[in-house]
């Protein structure tokens, strides 16, 4: 009893202290710890999610890069193929065209030669004809006498030949 008096313990004040402390605890729990802890948890979740998302994005990016490389190499191969094929076609075309041209030029040449031959023959014939006429005229003048036309021709032909 003496100790209690010496320490100044008083039931009324003790109860009041208890109420005071309870109010402090309750208000802090309700309006400080609760919201703060909740927000810290939320933030933790958010950060975890963010890290996960970032990792996902990273792997996705790597995948995309890989597929990009694949596509690029595929395209390159395809392009190479196309170029080779085109070169082949071009070569073939070139040969074809060359052959055609050769053929045509050959033909033209042949035609021309033929023409020339013909022309030459015709000219020769014409020349022969004219010559024979001239010769017959000259002979007529020289001989003064007209020979039988038929005989004349025979003679001239034999001379010319």
């Amino acid at each position: 009893m003496e100790l209690i008096n010496a320490l100044g313990l008083n039931v009324k004040i003790l109860l009041a202290q208890l109420v005071n402390f309870s109010v402090l605890l309750f208000v802090l729990y309700k309006f400080a710890y609760g919201p703060i802890l909740k927000m810290l948890d939320e933030r933790r979740d958010k950060i975890e999610e963010g890290i996960k998302n970032a990792e996902d994005a990273k792997t996705k990016l790597a995948k995309i890069e890989m597929s990009e490389k694949e596509i690029l190499s595929d395209a390159r191969k395809e392009a190479q193929k196309i170029i080779v094929a085109a070169e082949d076609v071009a070569k073939k075309n070139k040969e074809d065209i060359l052959n055609e041209a050769k053929k045509q030029s050959q033909q033209i040449l042949e035609k021309a030669e033929k023409n020339i031959e013909q022309e030459k023959n015709k000219m020769m014939e014409d020349a022969k004809k004219e010559l024979s006429e001239l010769v017959s005229l000259a002979t007529e003048k020289i001989v003064g006498e007209k020979m039988d036309a038929k005989k004349d021709k025979e003679i001239i032909d034999s001379v010319i030949k």
Partner: protein, 252 residues
């Protein structure tokens, strides 16, 4: 100039028949300050923290993780954290309040003489006793909730053998000793610090008391920490089931 040291808090005025002691006044004062500080901080909280908020968060998280590391379980930690942290903050603020310069000079004139308006709240055994009782009663409640009423009583009244019976009675003594050790450790440290400070100021007012004040600051923090951590440890001990107990239950 006389040295005025009183073990009991001084009654500064009455409301009706209700005596208001300076320690009670201070504890209400501290409550208001703590509430103001925390509500202000909690209200300003936002998802993207400012520097100050980040600092508060670090302290808060560290405190929570510490509680979790002792009690070993996040759910349990969430339940016990508010009480333990409030005890820590309340004791810390109450202890630090006495280091505000000039507050010791504020006095009230009453019929019984001149009384200091402020007193270290923890140097009033009433406040400490109240908090000790809160923590000790909570320990018993937790123990009953975990072990069941019969398991709880069985710990104290054990009739398996004379030695077990004696040890059970010793456990009762141990529970009472917890009240004494918890409350008088805090009360004694703070009261002694106050007395020492007063004596030092009385003997040599300049410079000499400074080291003692530093020591007092350290005590202010350490004792707040010790009180709340001991509460936490006792409650965590009450909430765990020992292995041999499990074996016992299984054999029944």
């Amino acid at each position: 100039m006389g040295l005025n040291i009183s073990l009991a808090p001084e009654v500064i005025f009455h409301i009706g028949s209700f005596p208001i002691t300076n320690a009670f006044f201070v504890s209400i004062f501290v409550t208001v300050i703590v509430l103001a500080v925390f509500l202000l901080i909690a209200n300003r909280f936002q998802t993207v923290p400012t520097r100050f908020q980040a600092l508060v968060e670090i302290l808060f998280e560290e405190a929570f993780d510490f509680v979790e590391s002792i009690i070993g379980n996040r759910e349990k930690a969430k339940r016990i954290f508010p009480l333990v942290f409030t005890m820590f903050i309340f004791i810390l603020f109450a202890n630090l309040l006495t280091y505000i310069p000039g507050q010791a000079a504020v006095t009230l004139k009453t019929e019984e003489g001149v009384m200091p308006l402020f007193r270290a709240a923890m140097a009033d055994y009433g406040v400490v006793f109240m908090m000790t009782m809160v923590s000790v009663i909570l320990m018993q409640i937790v123990a009953i909730a975990v072990h069941g009423p019969f398991g709880y009583l069985g710990k104290f009244f054990n009739f398996k053998g004379p030695l077990d019976f004696f040890l059970g009675l010793m456990d009762i003594v141990g529970e009472i000793a917890k009240i004494v050790s918890l409350s008088f450790r805090l009360f004694g440290n703070i009261f002694a610090g106050e007395v020492l400070g007063a004596v030092m100021l009385f003997l040599a007012p300049y410079f000499i008391p400074l080291p003692f004040m530093f020591l007092g600051l350290l005590t202010a923090f350490v004792q707040a920490f010790v009180f709340s951590v001991l509460t936490l440890v006792f409650i965590s001990m009450a909430s765990t089931i020992e292995e041999d107990e499990l074996v016992e239950e299984a054999s029944i």
